[in-house]
Symmetry: C2
Subunit: 151 residues, 2 copies
Amino acid sequence: MTRWPTPDPMLQALAHARTAGESGEVPVGAVVVKDGVVIGEGHNLTRTDHDPTAHAEIVALRMAARALGSERLTGCDLYVTLEPCAMCAGAISHARIARLTYGASDPKGGAVEHGARVFEQAQCLHRPEVIAGVGEAEAGALLKEFFTARR
Amino acid sequence: MTRWPTPDPMLQALAHARTAGESGEVPVGAVVVKDGVVIGEGHNLTRTDHDPTAHAEIVALRMAARALGSERLTGCDLYVTLEPCAMCAGAISHARIARLTYGASDPKGGAVEHGARVFEQAQCLHRPEVIAGVGEAEAGALLKEFFTARR
């Protein structure tokens, strides 16, 4: 049997998710890649930074935009361990991310294949290519473990 | 004839929108109020800061959360001159804003009464009270003037 290997940027996003969980943040990680080089990365920091917007995707997108000196991340890939919420899907569209690859689906908070389905709205000005389910087993296990331990 | 006066925080948000327009940013301003005191304010800074997430609402919410030392802005009001997009509506929900007052409606990019209708999704965990159309004439005029000048 052959299993498709998890791409390196998703492994890196999963490592960020693990770090987040260890520090009491919801274990989600994200990585932005341009031309094969990581230019933004991070994990949830909402509690640590007292910032309701500091989801992993926002942290990674802001770092990448600073690195490029542009608010548009044209030609960039975003890897994130969990389906983005409405806030993050909106930010991904504003940032002109070319391709979004995510791990676990999130029926409760996701806004790509659930709920607000941000990229499917007629008014959405930029839709990334979307690839779901990459590294989903590990991404989901990290979240399950985190929330089980806190119950 | 009596006209309902525009509340002070919205006047302040409009002043921020004017400042944004003068510096080449889309003229949108936002103010966060807690117990009658402004604890967060700002305007679009996406170009200036090379930050795709730096909409007026996000700038004001982040400032308010830093001021309170908490990612939850419980009991806070957000005033913004334009209907929030999906990114900002998501952030408003995450921040637990009690009441959202906005000026002009935005059929092209808004996600409160248009498009993704973020607060109307069954999965939305926190819905603010929403008041629309406050200061909308001036808010809309600023935007129209800005985009007409750039065509």
